[in-house]
């Protein structure tokens, strides 16, 4: 948990949209810059912000930019609800509100000198991107780094240019699979869990970070367990309704925890009993 924001935690700061970049259908990326002087918004990989459209509402969105570039803030957003649909209509120059950062972080220090397995499903790549930037900046601190990425179709592959560059640099071993192939797709068709059996890791010195739909994380964690990675070294990023980020509003509870202040990142043993259970 970072230091408390200087202003009240429920008060957003105005940020200007510097650039809007369309990604996949319904998905876009904002580059934001604060409109006022003040402390830069410093975050750690895994954390999220509450983004506001004034008079419309506020939604939690993971940070998907580079933590070492604190003068700008980057968020990848899927337009699915009342607030994000309005967000999609916003253009460069428009002002939005930002509160944060909130939540805990991926275990990047614990992963040093280890093989690292990043397993992501769908838009789960967006919250994982700050981790990837960190691993690339400090590549020498880590051993083998795998990015196992599953999406619905080849059209849904996020950040394709970056994926290509990361792969070609040899810094990451990227394996991609899709649920449904299409013309021109020569890659894998299947689930992320299928990719896990092929990777070469030292399971006693590995850390896995998983982000995607709950059902995907449930089965991915099991598959990683069967590669003999200790449950306590498998980390998941959970999602529930979040309205405040501060633990006041109660919406994000899952069993004994508040995702916004105790999570969103959990080691597998502490969330296993509550994972992929109907209506908890």
């Amino acid at each position: 948990m970072g230091a408390l924001p200087a202003i009240r935690p429920m008060t957003p700061r105005p940020f200007r949209i510097e650039a809007v970049r369309p990604e996949t259908p319904n998905v876009f990326t904002w580059t934001l810059r604060p409109t006022q002087e003040g402390e830069p918004l410093v975050f750690q990989p895994g954390q999220f912000n509450m983004l506001s459209i004034f008079g419309v509402g506020e939604v939690p969105i993971s940070v998907s930019g580079d933590a070492e570039q604190s003068e700008i803030l980057v968020h990848t957003i899927r337009s699915v609800g009342t607030v994000t649909q309005v967000m999609e209509t916003k253009k460069a120059g428009d002002i939005i509100g930002v509160r944060g950062p909130f939540g805990n972080t991926w275990p990047l220090q614990a992963a040093e000198d280890c093989d690292v397995v990043l397993a992501v499903g769908g838009l789960g790549l967006a919250p994982m991107r700050p981790t990837i930037y960190h691993l690339l900046h400090h590549r020498e601190r880590y051993k083998r780094v795998y990015l196992l990425y599953g999406t619905r179709t080849p059209k849904d592959i996020l950040y394709p240019d970056e994926l290509k560059a990361w792969s070609e640099s040899g810094a990451l071993d990227i394996r991609t699979t899709v649920d449904v192939g299409m013309d021109g797709w020569n890659g894998e068709v299947g689930l992320v869990t299928d990719l896990i059996s092929d990777i070469r890791i030292d399971p006693y010195h590995s850390i896995a970070m998983v982000c995607g739909p709950e059902i995907m994380m449930h089965f991915t964690a099991k598959a990683l367990f069967h590669r003999r990675i200790a449950p306590a070294r498998i980390f998941l990023s959970m999602e529930r309704s979040m309205r405040c980020g501060t633990g006041w509003c109660g919406h994000c509870q899952l069993g004994p925890t508040f995702l916004c202040k105790d999570g969103p990142v959990y080691d597998y043993p502490s969330i296993q009993a509550w994972l992929h259970k109907r209506e908890l």
């Binding site: 948990m1 408390l4 202003i7 009240r8 935690p9 429920m10 008060t11 957003p12 700061r13 105005p14 409109t35 506001s52 004034f54 008079g55 419309v56 509402g57 506020e58 899927r78 699915v80 609800g81 120059g93 428009d94 002002i95 509100g97 999602e239 529930r240 309704s241 309205r243 405040c244 501060t246 633990g247 006041w248 509003c249 109660g250 919406h251 509870q253 069993g255 004994p256 925890t257 508040f258 202040k261 259970k277 109907r278 209506e279 908890l280």
Partner: protein
Amino acid sequence: MHYRLEASDLQQLLDALKADGYALLGPQRQDNAILYDTLESAADLPQGWTDQQEAGQYKLKRREDAAYFGYVVGPRSWKRVFLPPRKRLWSATQQDGAWSIEEEPLPTQKVALIGVRACEIHAIAIQDRVLREGPYPDPYYTTMRAQSLIIAVNCTQAAPTCFCTSMDTGPNATFGFDLSLTELLEPDHGFVVEVGSPKGQALVETLGLPAANDPDQARAQAGVDQARKQIKRTLQRDDVKALLYRNLEHARWDEVASRCLSCANCTMVCPTCFCTEMEDITDLTGDHAERWQRWDSCFHGQFTHVHGGPVRQSTRSRYRQWLTHKLASWEDQFGTTGCVGCGRCIAWCPAGIDLTAEVKAFRESEHSQEKNKR
């Protein structure tokens, strides 16, 4: 050290608080219930009235005596003082494409809470854990708590819905007050006063209260003992967390869901329920926007909304969340149970659902399973 306050001098206590700059909040008869609201004088207190409560029932009735605090608890709790049902967090104004944001000023008025029951003191302490002692203290809550003064009133009678003795929260206040009063009726109407803080001590000195004599102190104790004896409802709380966690998929949840209306009454009257929703509003020009925080409930359909719809769609899952939060996960989160045994959720449930009965049902089901195994 205990003091004696004559019933006829109760107004002097209120006047002393007013003179010290406190706005008074206290019980009064409103809408056929005893509610906490702004108090002008002792004449506003529900003197000579009591409440009759049972599962799904609450009724006011005349008393045969002139007791000021001769009722138990009504549907309002003190949480609205510290966590108002609706409050504005900020306003934002747009000019030439730039937004400026103005935070809502924090309240400055000191308040004195008159007639706080022992279970309610525990409820305030529990909400302190949530809203004052966490990583992000709520500025409004923290401010109001710091400028509040608490005059407790010990219970000398209980309602059938009460179970504070099971929750170890009553019937008398043992901490968390500035003054506590125990009302004595015939033949000489008055109060035994206990001091709980330096502010309380100063009040006693301002009023020049005499020491309470031994018979008065014995009568006060007898009153509290009488309330304790009247309490028949029980909830075995030592292992309730494990009991509920073991039974998350028990058929009893379906049974209670068939009675529960998912109306959220229990969460509105509960003195510890703290869930809120953020609401954004704007004027017609779109140049003025506000964010409001208002009470919400885990029984509401949209409470767990994420893309794709709510996580908890069924009443079964919502009641399960409420009960397991209140009695089990609250302990994991805040190191205390979320229930104080005030019985409000029992009285104000339109279906008369009684959480103590629900807990017993789980326990009995386990007992009978054990028996069958043998």
